[in-house]
């Protein structure tokens, strides 16, 4: 009989900010167990068979939504999907009303993506369900940061002491903030790199290094996490042209080959091939982009399993 029981220090997963180091380790260790489950002929366990989860997406998503949906199904949870574009939100219903209506149908957990920062925190204070943040505006995307850490750990054995450069559109990226917090809590060094206009002015207060020269950043790091230019969140022009951005901050094979060491390339997706990363890099042996996607399901299973475990 297993005897060890531990639990997360939070009831919801709203952001990495609320997690402590042992929470992160607990999630990553549990994710390793689920990764083994996902390699079995039958990839399903009955742990969450009495739990109903609503996936509430107010913003487009492919990977995260599929990944959450698969994680929920592999745990045997019942799920309902909700996309804002095809719902009564367009008829003027408020967020709390929408979610309370979903909860009235006896739903236990809400996985939510929303274009506004803090939507998950707001909801957690007003409704009686466990909330998992699947991305809120340019704020946080905790499960992405956790799966990135899981992938780094899988590649290097440990996150502590690693040098990770996050390169690209830092200002509009929720992946950047969650990753910075998650990596730092595990003892990694973090650098952000990009054009001045795409790096927030006060980012140094988080204790990260700032670099504007891509080559210097690549020479410094063990892992380069390339971010997409988030054109949908940019209301003004932050750089002259995509072509110029790509020339200065795009990662290509020539650049990688000119380094005197091997670095690991990550990308949270979706990739804009030829902009922040060229195809020969994205598809090379340095890249662990598809491992990240694979690990995403295991990490989300771990998060849902641990949160569900707190219910009485």
């Amino acid at each position: 009989m297993s005897s060890t029981a531990e639990q997360l220090s939070t009831r919801h997963l709203l952001g990495i900010k609320d997690l402590n180091e042992s929470d992160i380790q607990l999630i990553l260790n549990t994710a390793s167990n689920f990764k083994e489950v996902l390699n079995r002929p039958i990839k399903k366990v009955p742990s969450l068979r009495d739990i109903t989860i609503a996936n509430v997406f107010f913003e487009n998503s492919t990977r995260t939504r599929l990944s959450f949906e698969l994680a929920e199904k592999r745990l045997s949870a019942d799920i309902v999907n909700f996309a804002a574009s095809s719902s009564s939100v367009s008829k003027g219903e408020t967020l709390i009303d929408t979610v309370n209506n979903i909860l009235a149908m006896k739903v236990d957990m809400i996985v939510m993506r929303h274009p506004y920062a803090g939507a998950g925190v707001f909801l957690s204070k007003h409704v009686n369900a466990q909330i998992v943040n699947a991305g809120d505006g340019a704020h946080e995307h905790p499960t992405q940061a956790l799966l990135d850490s899981f992938s780094i750990r899988e590649r290097f054995g440990d996150v502590a002491g690693r040098k990770v450069a996050i390169i690209g559109d830092i200002t509009h990226s929720r992946v950047a903030l969650s990753n910075i917090l998650c990596l730092q809590k595990q003892g990694a060094e973090v650098m952000v790199c990009g054009p001045t206009t795409l790096i927030p002015k006060y980012i140094t207060s988080l204790g990260v290094k700032v670099e504007h020269d891509l080559m210097k950043a690549l020479n410094w790091c063990d892992v380069a996490n390339m971010l997409r230019i988030q054109l949908e969140r940019q209301d003004i022009a932050y750089f002259p042209s995509l072509r110029e951005y790509s020339m200065l901050y795009g990662l290509n094979k020539t650049l990688l080959d000119s380094l005197d060491k091997e670095i690991t390339i990550m990308h949270p997706g979706p990739i804009n091939r030829g902009v922040e990363i060229t195809s020969d890099v994205a598809d090379s042996a340095h890249s662990i982009i598809l491992d990240q996607v694979e690990n995403g399901v295991a990490v989300r299973m771990a998060v849902l399993y641990l949160l569900a475990g707190q219910r009485g």
Binding site: S2, T4, T30, R40, P46, Q310
Partner: protein, 182 residues
């Protein structure tokens, strides 16, 4: 707290050897049989038996560890301690068409074994599943599960505990009955 030793020393070894002989009687050279130890404590028993069988037969036997945490029926019902954490599962083969012998140190309510039978299905449809336990706590089953091979049988009450120690982890092979004094 009162502790009484139920089995240790040479008698412990004799029991293990008897179990091995019984297994050979039914499974011959183990060419189509695999041994699965249930995490965490059943894996010590499985390793011990596999080692002994390999010595007797001179061949290697397919074996693995199975963790049943995600298949438990009491996940979330353990008070406020949070979810039960998993141990590792190491099964590098498919059990399709094979005979599976599940091994655990103590059989009590039977719920762990039920979970294990559920869990092993994820690795294929076994031809047959058998159960070997070192200690059978009689008259305490909550579901209708009985072992095929038994080390010793013990009559105990719910408040008592049966603990199996292993050389590998506890520096001695022994079975102990612990009674909490009121």
């Amino acid at each position: 707290m009162k502790q009484s030793i139920l089995l240790d020393g040479p008698k412990f070894q004799i029991t293990i050897q008897r179990l091995c002989r019984q297994l050979i009687e039914n499974h011959g050279d183990f060419s189509n049989t695999v041994i699965i130890g249930i995490q965490p404590r059943g894996t010590f028993l499985a390793r011990c038996i596999v080692k002994e069988l390999e010595k007797m037969l001179g061949t290697s036997i397919l074996s693995g560890d199975l963790d049943i945490t995600f298949y438990r029926d009491d996940f979330r019902r353990k008070g406020n301690d949070g979810p039960i954490l998993a141990n590792s599962t190491n099964i590098n083969f498919i059990v399709e068409g094979k005979k599976v012998i599940l091994m655990d140190d103590v059989l009590w309510t039977g719920r762990t074994i039920r979970s294990a039978m559920d869990a092993i299905q994820a690795f294929g449809r076994a031809e047959r599943i058998e159960l070997l336990v070192l200690v059978d706590r009689r008259f305490s089953r909550q579901i209708p599960i009985q072992p095929d091979y038994i080390g010793i049988q013990v009559d105990s009450i719910d408040s008592q505990k049966v603990i199996v120690n292993w050389q590998e982890s506890d520096n001695q092979d022994s079975i102990i009955l612990v009674t909490e004094k009121k």
